[in-house]
């Protein structure tokens, strides 16, 4: 009995010692969760923007305006940080992120799998894919409804490419190529075609002024999102949560409507 008790005590002692030896260094490596203030010592969220690309961002007298500016300000406010917009040229967007010149890249960028080694994206904030615009009176509410209609598009655009493929899958429709998307939209406005297939952002911009008589249908998906460095998971969580809150309380939708026709499907 005594021997058993002694063995049990030994086991308990060595077990404790072993746990201490293994566990203490691990505990030492664990840091308590840092407050936002510690993550951003300067109290500033650095947002990389492309100010040549309206409606996302544009340089006007007195500063920057655009969807990305409004969203960047809303995100910073959610995180209780000040915001600093850093203008970038298109060649240097991701390099600025990689070299820590910015915290997030909010520049109308789409989710790009080629960046996945260094970059992660937030949940998408809008779908910039192709939009089919048609009068509300037209029965064009599904992809297959294209058949027998006359569809305007810009020659050599992504819509042109999409229609080449669609022609093989959908019953014949009449193609109406125009020199560019702007002309295709004008043809729709003047009733010369049943619908126009255009770049999503362009379509949603057009809808802002013609939404009273037009309807829109997203035919492809091209998600626009916020890019962040892969090695900062804490930032992904912060941005994800902040963006979700903006979505849920309707502020993201309000910001989108300020620049485009309406918000895209929920992230």
């Amino acid at each position: 009995m005594v021997a058993r008790t002694r063995i049990a005590l030994y086991l308990l002692w060595y077990g404790w010692l072993f746990s201490a030896l293994i566990g203490l260094p691990m505990l030492a490596r664990l840091k308590p969760p840092q407050a936002i203030g510690e993550r951003f010592p300067a109290g500033v969220l650095r947002v990389g923007i492309d100010p040549s690309y309206p409606p996302f961002a544009n340089h006007v007298e007195g500063g920057f305006v655009g969807f990305d500016i409004d969203l960047g300000e809303a995100l910073a406010a959610e995180l209780e940080l000040a915001v600093q917009f850093i203008p970038l040229g298109y060649d240097g967007l991701y390099d600025a992120l990689k070299t820590d010149h910015i915290d997030i890249l909010l520049a109308g960028v789409r989710v790009d799998y080629r960046q996945s080694q260094d970059v992660v994206y937030s949940q998408p904030y809008m779908n910039g894919g192709l939009r089919l615009l048609s009068p509300k009176t037209a029965a064009l509410i599904r992809r297959n409804d294209l058949s027998s209609h006359k569809i305007a598009y810009g020659y050599g655009t992504a819509a042109d490419q999409f229609l080449w493929y669609a022609e093989r899958e959908i019953a014949p429709f009449q193609r109406a190529p125009y020199e560019d998307e702007e002309t295709a939209l004008r043809a729709l406005k003047q009733g010369q075609v049943s619908a126009a297939l255009v770049d999503g952002v362009e379509g949603l911009r057009f809808m802002r002024w013609h939404g009273n008589w037009l309807q829109e249908l997203a035919l492809t998906e091209d998600h626009l999102a916020i890019a962040m460095r892969r090695d900062r998971p804490w930032l992904h969580s912060l941005i994800h949560d902040a963006l979700s809150r903006l979505w849920v309380d309707g502020r993201l939708s309000e910001i989108l409507q300020g620049w485009l026709w309406q918000a895209s499907p929920a992230p």
Binding site: S52, Y53, P54, P55, N58, H59, G89, Y90, D91, G92, D95, A96, K98, T99, D100, H101, G108, V109, R110, D112, R114, D118, G128, G154, Y155, G156, A158, D160, Q161, W164, A176, P177, Y178, E179, D180, E181, E182, T183, R186, A187, Q190, Q192, D199, V201, E202, R205, D222, R229, D231
Partner: protein
């Protein structure tokens, strides 16, 4: 117990069955081997056909291609076929050092070879732009903190050695080499502080010596500068005219054979007069004046990037019609007034994958080879401006 012994007849039967089974296995293996012998690696879809020749009325017609991230050779072949049909006899292509020499002295030439052989097959000359630094040459900097444009001073010799090896391997096939790209921009040095012009001249001098030692016929091109008005001390870069003057003052004239230039039109017409504080197509005339002032006016000039963008919203873009009109007018201008110009290369033929934003509106083809209006306009111009049927509907009334 008698029942425990196997009768000898049954044992013989088992032997026969084993032999039969073995024969069956041999037959199966033979069949499998026979089937395997019928398998061949998939036939390349980029088989070289008869050697072609570019027919053009506009010898300076040229385009920048972007094959460095292209996976399939048939896409390179098809792109170059379309370059030939455009009437362009020269392309500019970027060959990243990081891809070619991923480990020190371990060269992977296949990506260069396939571009070179396909171009040669179409009768097209290649101007090579060299840059992008392999990780092994970036010293002990954390790979997560630097971009592939970061070139520490300790790697200049490695880069020059690479230039020499490249020049030697492609001597007689690719004889024009551009050393680096837009050195007046911070991000072209990996977002490090913009090095003084003397630093670029040092890199150029080392590369020049290595290239000429390897191939006496090589033509080393001064890196094109990015057209920009950034003042000294800007975190983004430095005005191209200021930077060029500094390069020339630092003695660069001794270490280049020709000049590469970038001259984008922005949203201004090509005929607009140049000015120091203006970015437009004719800004390159100011570059040439500087070159003349420093005794370099006789050196050949290659415009390795130029063009207009027709994105509907980008602030520096023009309409699709203007893009065609301006580009053709630029060629007419250059043909008539710039006899010293060797090539006028349009940015850009096509991207391997569409960017999904305004950058796509610089291309002549979509990633899926959909031809854009400017391609047709240029092709007609390259064939002597013949009339063609319109490919799109007239403007709505």
């Amino acid at each position: 117990m008698a029942g425990c012994r196997q009768p000898p007849e049954l044992g013989g039967h088992n032997v026969n069955r084993s032999i039969l089974s073995l024969l069956f296995w041999l037959l199966r293996i033979s069949l499998l081997l026979g089937l395997l012998s019928l398998l061949h690696p998939p036939r390349s879809r980029a088989v070289l056909g008869p050697v072609q020749q570019v027919e053009t009325e506009v010898p300076i017609l040229c385009t920048h291609t972007r094959f460095s991230d292209e996976v399939e050779e048939w896409k390179i072949a098809q792109s170059l076929e379309l370059v030939r049909e455009l009437g362009a006899a020269t392309i500019v292509e970027f060959f990243p050092w990081a891809y070619i020499e991923p480990h020190r002295s371990n060269f992977q030439w296949e990506k260069v070879d396939r571009v070179q052989r396909q171009a040669e097959n179409q009768g097209i000359q290649v101007i090579a732009r060299l840059g992008l630094v392999p990780r092994w040459a970036q010293g002990d900097r954390d790979a997560n903190e630097v971009t592939l444009n970061y070139l520490p001073a300790t790697a200049y010799e490695d880069f020059a050695r690479f230039v020499g090896v490249f020049a030697e391997r492609y001597a007689g096939k690719i004889d024009r080499l551009i050393i680096w790209n837009e050195p007046n921009l911070v991000h072209e040095w990996g977002y490090e502080e913009l090095p003084p012009a003397e630093v670029y001249v040092k890199l150029l001098a080392m590369s020049y010596a290595a290239a000429h030692a390897a191939n006496p016929n090589v033509e080393v091109l001064l890196a094109p500068l990015a057209p920009t008005l950034e003042p000294a001390g800007s975190p983004y870069g430095l005005d191209d005219l200021i930077y060029l003057e500094r390069i020339l003052a630092a003695g660069a004239g001794e270490v280049f054979d020709a000049v590469a230039l970038h001259t984008y039109g922005g949203n201004r017409p090509p005929e607009e007069a140049p000015a120091v504080q203006r970015i437009n197509f004719r800004r390159m005339e100011l570059h040439r004046s500087l070159l003349k002032r420093y005794g370099q006016g006789e050196k050949p000039v290659y415009v390795t990037e130029f063009g207009w963008n027709d994105h509907p919203r980008w602030v520096h873009a023009v309409s699709t019609a203007q893009r065609s009109e301006y580009t053709l007018a630029a060629y007419r201008w250059a043909e008539k007034r710039w006899p010293w110009l060797e090539e006028l290369c349009l940015w850009v033929l096509r991207f391997p994958v569409d960017a999904g934003d305004y950058r796509d509106h610089f291309t002549l083809l979509t990633s899926e080879f959909q031809v854009k209006p400017l391609y047709h306009s240029l092709q007609a111009y390259g064939r002597g401006g013949e009339e063609r049927e319109s490919l799109w509907l007239p403007e709505p009334e």
